[in-house]
Symmetry: C2
Subunit: 488 residues, 2 copies
């Protein structure tokens, strides 16, 4: 054990909010990404990755959470003096891409993306500062049919992610409908509109009473903090609340309620027509009321949405490592963003998209799956001078399709067996002097051994019997090990 | 076309060195990552991702290229006042991970990683500031057998990446051998040692004469820039040059040359013994002289290596988009880094690893593969009021296993056909009023159509004949389209 001369050692600690990801977590992420990407691909989208960095001005300020340095992004100065930041979603960079390459792109342009995005937020449990998002976007598509297809894609993506029909729901609203109800309520000041939208957005969490306070004078939360309200009179607040609560048992019923609420308002009639067309295409695509509902309480925080918006809610609860039920709520969302490309070019390009957050889902799936995966077969090394022999045997196993490694630590037999247990190895292979002389190997089936041990009282007798342990000719090593691995 | 009021629009440009990645590029990357990860997994390594950021002090200063701001990394200040940086490789973060969790890890600890790393370097052609690396590391393994296995893994990874035996070579050297020859040459000053190593590292590029100048007085390059040399006398420089050129036709021949060169030096004898043991395990693993050679000119820039070092060289040239041959040289490398965990803990933990750079390789593979992938079948929309019908037909095709989309732009028939061509669609489906009345669909086989068009002189006659176009009953749409897609 040598010690470096420098006593001022760095601390072995990780920046907060960026968890190390285990094999189980990575496998769950990969499985979700592959399944969801396959849906997008089947619907005609092509993969495109726009890279981790954009200029700060290209990203724009669209994040809902702006109480952080750099407005919620990780930004730094490039060596040419420009400021660049890690993407916080896939949509803003896509707008830059379309603006940069629009002459050469097919019209419409359909792309999907699967990769990390970064948010400079306060980290917390299940709240990561890096997470994987899988997005599909259609650019150059106007009209509710495109939004309806995006909602259908969202439903299919949820099912590909393992949520059966009935275990998830896509909840759909429209900025047009929100505009209409605010018009009817006489809310025209942009700041007041913002306060109203933030209040409605909390309907799921705070219920009718909480939102009522936020639309009126304001609300004091459990901690005693006071949030100033929109200051609306009771009648106006009532209209907005009725709107937010208009979701009924089916899309048709919700629509009929909204027709009454928004009657006599032009914007409202356009909103209703939009909902009708969305419903028609959803129905043609087999997306029933269980899969997609109209829900006027959906707002979506991102500032760039201009039309229909929707959220994918996971209804099925997951069990965490301690067996407690975890409800996820929204795991994805999307909507229409017709002005995002125009930020760059001045020309409006209608677009709609959907994004599902994979990392939280994967963490839940990995926690629920539990249990260690089967490890490699370990070829022990009895004599360090003959390690090449063990290496060759492990190579023979791998060539025979068996995951296998040579023990390359410096410890003796007991530690090697402990290592094999630790790795959840199905078997170990041992060649000592005696085996070598007789042209055989000793194979220990660790699962059979453990099962036998569990059923035996007399430890001494058991040890002499060595259950699960047997000899095999070298020529049969691979086939005997394969039998064990297939049972494991 | 609405125009936003704000005239000061952001520029649609990308930060340099972070290329947008096409579907072909992403597919090539994914294929390489999967193939190489499968090799690592088969050898008993488990996946672990340590996340994008580390504290700057945990990363340490090991990069060879330090002529950039922040010493070649992308760094920023976190909101708790600590400085964090994007990882520049997978090895330094692994050392942090092992130091942080060492009590709970299996010993040895074998992990693999596949993900992006970031270097704040001057971007250039095929020189990206983000690239994917696939690493395997074994921690807690001392002795040359572990290095030999790592070299064998490197060879297998190259073959999994598509390079046949003979199209790549793993070139192996040892810091011990480099120490030995510098001892014999009397080079003991650390700065002079650094100059000597940098000179030897350029042997591939500059040849014997170039390196001779860099070991002596110095060298003026083509641009007129002068690089100061190590200032060694001719005799000492001669010994170092003989060493760097000692690679012979086989590992055994190279070893016999090195034995002579390093004779009478203790360090040299230990280096020879190390090479002998590596050779023995490589031979047991079937890694022949074509797959792995001893090459004393290999240095490896990273400062943290302490023992055997090796590079994976791709010998087979690739063709770029213009048909020119591109030689890649080194696409990966690795070696022993026994002191990296001790930076944190003070206790030496022997470790060895290998890393292959996937992004450059993938770019080459994507360029060589060329050609557009087959696109989706496009269901045209003749009447915007009946878009739901087209949506349902596309859904039917997808349910039948066919990649398909509805045309959701706002253009007419000609533009829709142009779009289908642009997407490399195998076929389009058309339902006009006439077809609807008769319960049929019109299918255009675009490949058959294009082939027929190429063989026809009389454009007018051809247009009337409409080759590749036929009608089918709605009930046969999926099966007829499938036939076309399978031929495409």
């Amino acid at each position: 054990m040598s010690r470096p001369k420098d006593a001022s050692r760095p601390q072995a600690r990780k920046p907060r909010g960026f968890p190390d990801k285990s094999a189980a977590m990575l496998a769950a992420e990969r499985e979700l990404v592959d399944a969801i990407s396959a849906v997008y691909h089947r619907w005609g989208f092509d993969a495109l990755d726009t890279g981790p960095f954009e200029t700060v001005e290209a990203l724009g300020k669209f994040l809902p959470d702006t109480d952080r340095p750099n407005d919620g992004v990780f930004a730094l100065e490039d060596d040419d003096g420009s400021w660049i930041a890690l993407r916080y979603d896939h949509t803003a960079p896509l707008a830059r891409y379309v603006a940069e390459h629009r002459a050469g792109l097919p019209k419409p342009f359909r792309r999907y993306a699967a990769g990390p995005v970064w948010r400079n937020e306060k980290p917390g449990p299940f709240r990561f500062r890096e997470f994987i998002q899988c997005d599909a976007d259609a650019v150059g598509v106007a009209g509710p049919a495109a939004d309806a297809e995006m909602i259908a894609i969202a439903a299919e993506a949820m099912e590909a992610a393992g949520a059966a029909r009935g275990e998830y729901q896509i909840r759909v609203n429209s900025r047009l409908a929100l505009d209409a109800v605010m018009e009817k309520a006489g809310v025209s000041d942009p700041a007041q509109r913002g306060t109203v939208l933030r209040a409605l957005d909390k309907y799921d969490r705070l219920g009718r009473e909480g939102v009522e306070l936020l639309l009126g004078a304001g609300r004091k939360d459990e901690s005693g903090d006071f949030t100033k309200g929109a200051g609306l009179a009771a009648e106006k607040a009532g209209l907005l609340l009725d709107f937010a609560m208009a979701r009924a048992g089916s899309r048709a019923e919700t629509l009929s309620g909204l027709r009454q609420l928004l009657a006599g308002n032009n914007t409202g009639e356009r909103a209703i027509e939009e909902f009708v067309q969305i419903d028609e295409v959803l129905t043609a695509l087999g997306v029933d009321d269980a899969a997609a509902a109209f829900d006027p309480s959906i707002v979506r925080g991102l500032d760039y949405y201009t039309g229909p918006v929707f959220e994918a809610e996971l209804l099925r609860p997951f069990k965490d490592a301690d067996g407690n039920e975890v409800r996820f709520g929204s795991v994805g969302g999307g909507g229409r963003y017709d002005d995002l490309v125009a930020r760059f070019t001045g020309e409006q390009v209608p677009a709609t998209g959907f994004s599902v957050g994979v990392s939280r889902l994967a963490a839940a799936m990995a926690a629920e799956a539990g249990g260690a995966a089967v490890g490699p077969v370990v070829v022990l090394v009895m004599d360090r001078d003959r390690v090449a022999e063990s290496s060759a045997m492990a190579a023979e196993l791998r060539a025979g399709g068996v995951r296998a490694e040579t023990y390359l630590g410096s410890s003796g037999m007991r530690a090697q067996m402990k290592y094999a247990d630790r790795r959840n190895a199905p078997a170990v292979v041992i060649v000592g002097e005696d085996e070598r002389a007789r042209g055989v190997v000793t194979i220990k089936d660790l699962k059979a051994g453990a099962e036998a041990a569990a059923g035996v009282e007399d430890n001494e007798a058991w040890r002499n019997e060595r259950p699960g342990q047997f000899e095999a000719p070298c020529s049969e090593m691979v086939s005997r090990i394969r039998e064990i691995v297939e049972r494991a």
